[in-house]
């Protein structure tokens, strides 16, 4: 049996976490290759719809990286993200998606170590959770 390789979409803000991910690279730290990065200028650009869209397309986990509280390049963007993600996690639960599949972390440009650690940890967590349950339309109809 092949090991389950989760598909992870990572949204990283350009100023902190993307730079932190670059630092992990320049420091030659190793982490699993499951996450693919989409760079945004600020974590507050990430709409709930993008996250739901990714889950609907079968993403097993979604990782969002922003600046530490107080460090946002755009003053308050990360606070907006935090509020959005807290709410969205509750919505996900009601939709039958384990909210642990969505992770928000503050990683600064100097925290290459933390980025690598988070990537490893999140990938392992999602691997343990297994593939995201598929939405079965037929079953939905038969259940009324």
């Amino acid at each position: 049996m092949k090991r389950f390789e989760p598909k992870i979409v990572c949204f990283l803000c350009k100023w902190c976490t993307y730079a932190g991910a670059d630092l992990a690279g320049t420091s030659r730290l190793k982490y699993p290759a499951n996450g693919i990065v989409i760079k945004t200028l600020c974590s507050s650009r990430i709409d709930s719809e993008h996250i739901l869209h990714a889950f609907a397309r079968g993403s097993d986990g979604i990782f969002i990286g922003g600046c530490h509280p107080g460090d946002c390049h755009y003053q308050t963007g990360n606070y907006k993200t935090k509020r959005r993600i807290v709410l969205l996690k509750r919505v996900l639960e009601q939709m039958g998606i384990n909210p642990d599949r969505l992770r928000l972390e503050w990683i600064s440009a100097s925290e290459g170590n933390k980025f690598a650690r988070q990537m490893t940890d999140f990938t392992e967590q999602i691997r343990a959770l297994g593939p995201i349950p598929k939405y079965d339309r037929k079953e939905d109809i038969s259940n009324g």
Partner: protein
């Protein structure tokens, strides 16, 4: 459909060793929109760039994806290349397959699969990229320098000489920084004050420099070329135009506090001049220690002042200044020795830090330049210098090397020897780092001519016995325990970012390293500027540095600023928000979301974007309930397409996946 060219860089072996570039080329050859694909050893090199240009011409490309290192390194290089070929620079995407792929993965198959997806996301984004032109706004030709130490002074003078107005903001009542406290400087042993004070006077008299002492920057708003800074100035309570510097006020002030200039080794009054050569040369009342003038509790200084220069009714003032660029020269502090209990600092008056010893050596210091120890005023005959005190100690203190301590400890030993010919200096060291012009010769000379004894090892403990300081250490070269009965101990404390800078940095949203030193935009290629445009770094604020390095960096940063100031207009990234008027319902959520006040409703009740104020964070876009707001070149469609391509093979693998659980 766009005609896209994909260029995959080997980066020597950096990418090629972990990512199968040939396989990638094969896999992406037939990807929709790709009309040309190639790989090459160094895409950023001249031949690499020429190859891109040739391919653009031959295949009539109108979009380019470069799969190489992080966009922070060479995005602008490649943007210039395609612009030269007449393609808008926003038709370039960088696929970061080095920092975020080849360098962080070991498995070649895995890394190649990931690189494939990274390039595909870049392709999907590029497919919908618009050609944009930068938003321009006028350049404010004034510069603010924060910090009045040697780095700030040098930068301010260079820019002012270039013909632009400079505001120099200094927290303390005088400029001069730590350099003014030093006795003599290595390796030439010229007097620190003699080389610094003429510069301070020059600065004070310069017609292009406005000096704000006793002042702190509270807030900076805006963007490069158009900053507005809010500066708070504490009152001095003494009118410098009337004050004759007679000193009668000092004689009558009853309050005595430790002098900052002498690092606590002497005393000053609550009304004081920081040091005789202070610029500006005026008295200041230190309100924290003054007995109080609101209501007047003492008032002795005002009674004594014959020209009536003292006015207790002065209030703190706030100034708003428009500036185009900011130089940060906030300097350093010494690592608090209180954190190093084993060295007994504070407990024993004869354990000093480096700056205190500088004051004892200095002709303007508490002993008038005589070598006397603080406890009993005796001449110390044996003296121990301890290097790396608080540095190169990742377990307990700072992990970094403080860079200047090897040189200044030796300078201390040498100057001590010049004053006490029969004295014996010992230096405990881990390694001697003397990289710098004539630095190594300085060390060799001290060992051979001045008889400085170096002991390799760390000091475990210092304690007092009679009037001696007993220094216990280990010579790691011979493996023997060492005990020295010293008269004086000097700790070479490591440099840390100056106190109070943290708040400023947070306010300005600048990035720092894990120790709190300011981060440069690129460690090798852009060492003088911050990643935040319009901010420049000099001196020890960026990392431990000696005087020559600080001055060099200050002049370098000044040159950068002069280049910026010579532009008439400043160009602003056009990756900003725009509104689809058809979809906008005028709800106004975007207005309350925007941190920059760049959003407003127009006469038709439709939200607008002020292109100069918008910074492009995208908060308004994700907040818009009707998807009317979009970000240029990062639209919802582009993000969703990128997500789709990342998850594309999920459908194909889904059957396999079910078997796996």
């Amino acid at each position: 459909m766009k005609r896209i060219g994909v260029f995959i860089c080997h980066c020597g072996v950096n990418i090629k060793d972990t990512v199968d570039v040939e396989l990638l080329t094969e896999q992406l050859e037939n990807y929709p929109g790709v009309v040309h694909i190639e790989n090459y050893m160094f895409m950023c090199s001249d031949p690499g760039q020429n190859q891109i240009k040739a391919a653009i011409e031959e295949n009539k490309l109108d979009g380019v994806v470069i799969a190489a290192c992080s966009p922070t390194l060479h995005e602008s290089t490649f943007q210039n290349v395609i612009e030269e070929m007449g393609i808008n620079k926003y038709q370039l995407e960088i696929a970061n397959i080095r920092e975020q792929c080849s360098w962080v993965h070991n498995d070649k198959e895995e890394a190649t699969r990931k690189a494939n997806l990274i390039i595909k996301t870049a392709l999907e984004k590029l497919r919908l990229n618009e050609s944009l032109s930068p938003v321009s706004s006028p350049m404010t030709k004034r510069v603010m320098v924060i910090g009045g130490g040697i780095a700030g002074i040098q930068a301010a003078l260079d820019i002012a000489d270039g013909g632009y107005e400079v505001l120099l903001v200094e927290k303390k009542p005088s400029i001069g920084g730590h350099m003014i406290q030093l006795s003599e400087t290595f390796p030439t042993l010229d007097c620190s004050q003699c080389i610094l004070t003429p510069k301070m006077v020059q600065l004070a008299k310069h017609k292009n420099i406005k000096l704000y002492v006793n002042s702190e920057v509270e807030k900076v708003e805006g963007f490069v070329g158009n900053f507005t800074a809010k500066i708070n100035r504490k009152p001095q309570y003494v009118n410098p135009d009337i004050c004759t510097m007679c000193g009668d006020c000092i004689d009558n002030c009853p309050v005595v506090v430790p002098s900052e200039y002498d690092e606590g080794l002497s005393w000053r009054k609550a009304i004081y001049v920081p040091f005789p050569q202070a610029i500006p040369a005026t008295f200041t009342i230190d309100t924290e220690n003054c007995l109080g003038f609101d209501p007047i509790a003492c008032g002795e200084c005002r009674k004594a002042c014959k020209p009536e220069a003292i006015n207790y009714d002065k209030k703190p003032e706030t100034f708003e200044e428009k500036i185009g660029a900011i130089i940060l020269a906030t300097g350093y502090d010494l690592y608090p020795v209180e954190k190093m209990a084993e060295y007994g600092y504070g407990k024993f008056p004869d354990v000093l830090n480096g700056l205190q010893f500088e004051r004892i050596l200095s002709a303007t210091g508490p002993t008038g330049g005589k070598m006397l120890r603080p406890s009993d005023g005796k001449i110390p005959k044996e003296i121990v210098f301890i290097q790396c005190s608080g540095s190169r100690d990742p377990e307990r203190h700072n992990s970094y090397c403080s860079k200047i301590c090897c040189m200044y400890s030796l300078k201390h030993a040498k100057l001590y020897k010049h004053k006490v010919h029969d004295g014996q200096p010992y230096i405990f060291y881990i390694d001697i780092r003397s990289g710098g012009k004539r630095y190594e010769e300085f060390i060799q000379q001290a060992v051979s001519e001045d008889g400085v004894i170096y002991i390799r090892g760390k000091v475990a403990k210092i304690y007092k016995e009679d009037d001696k300081m007993i220094v216990h250490g280990m010579d790691t070269l011979t493996g023997k325990k060492i005990e020295i009965k010293a008269d004086l101990v000097v700790l070479a404390q490591s440099m840390i970012p100056s106190e109070g800078v943290n708040k400023l940095i947070q306010n300005l949203k600048l990035s720092t390293d894990e120790h709190g030193f300011l981060n440069e935009a690129h460690p090798k290629l852009r060492p003088l500027e911050s990643i935040q445009s319009g901010f420049y770094l000099t001196g020890a604020a960026q990392g431990p540095k000696d005087i020559p390095d600080s001055v060099a960096q200050a002049s370098g940063a000044a040159a950068k600023v002069l280049a910026l100031m010579s532009q008439q207009e400043i160009y602003h990234e056009p990756i900003i928000a725009w509104v689809d008027e058809e979809k906008c319902s005028g709800c106004g959520i975007c207005i309350s979301t925007c941190p920059y006040g760049a959003r407003a409703l127009n006469f038709d009740g439709i939200a607008e974007v002020n292109e100069v104020l918008c910074e492009g964070c995208g908060a308004c876009i994700s907040a818009c309930p009707s998807s009317a707001s979009q970000q240029r070149n990062l639209t919802d469609d582009q993000i969703n397409n990128m997500i789709d391509i990342i998850l594309q093979d999920n459908l194909e693998n889904s059957l396999e996946k079910e078997d796996m659980i």
